[in-house]
């Protein structure tokens, strides 16, 4: 019941979901462990991609196109997020070299 018939062969839905979970977790590790702000942005992109894979997988499992449309929306949001994030980064890097996001603590009260 939880298998997808793709080109005559049976693929389990949970394989796709497990792969997506692994990618999401890798992205979370990147956000938590890495300290270069650029790499943190890249890891966020990885997590968004993993979420997209889940959306498309469920869209195929339920044979409902809404999941694919939502994946498109999430791609748009991810592109906007990357643009604004990188613009902020370039603005910060213009004044000084940041090798550790923990150095950016001017907003601390």
């Amino acid at each position: 019941m939880n298998t997808l018939n793709i080109g005559g062969s049976q693929l389990d839905t949970s394989w796709f979901l497990l792969l997506s979970a692994i990618l999401f977790v890798l992205g979370a590790v990147g956000v938590l462990v890495r300290r270069n702000p650029l790499v943190i942005l890249i890891s966020i992109e990885l997590m968004l991609n993993a979420a997209n894979l889940t959306l498309v997988t469920f869209s195929r499992q339920l044979q409902n196109l809404d999941g694919q449309l939502f994946a498109l929306m999430s791609m748009t949001v991810a592109a906007a997020e990357a643009v604004v994030g990188l613009a902020i980064l370039v603005d910060i890097f213009r004044t000084r070299d940041v090798e550790d996001v923990d150095e950016l603590s001017e907003l601390r009260g």
Binding site: S9, W15, V25, V29, L32, L53, Q68, D100
Partner: protein, 167 residues
Amino acid sequence: MAIAVFFVAAAMAVLGGIGVVTFRQPIRSVLSLVLVMLALSVLFLLLSAQFIFAVQIIVYAGAVMVLFLFVIALLGPARELGRGRLRFQTWLSALFVLVLLGLMWSLFQGAHYRQPDKTDMSFFGTVQSIAVGLFTTYLYPFELTSILLLVAAIGAIYLSRKNIDDL
């Protein structure tokens, strides 16, 4: 055949994901992420999402990643320092993340999905069917997306000006 394609693409994606996290130089992380995106696009094709496949390659692997590469080229080769003073955080985060993975795994182990809709699978995921969804049911969110992109573009231009008096 499809199973072999799945496992090759999945292995590429996981290796790329490990590369994103472990490489010291940001440019290698970006190139690993491109590998992940290409592998994911193959999986989208397996899941009969042709349009998402094309968008993934053109917009994500093409545009967004080139943007990252441009920024890295602009900022010069930045290296990450060695481990910081909060070394235990690394292990703590690894522990938390493993718990999260186990949680997700146990969640969809015993999952029962609802009965699939009776959709004509010959048109599933084509440009035509996506367009019908975007321009009928989801017209309003689709139009809002254009405002989001406009706001992001204006914000990026505003942030990257030379000094306050420029605008």
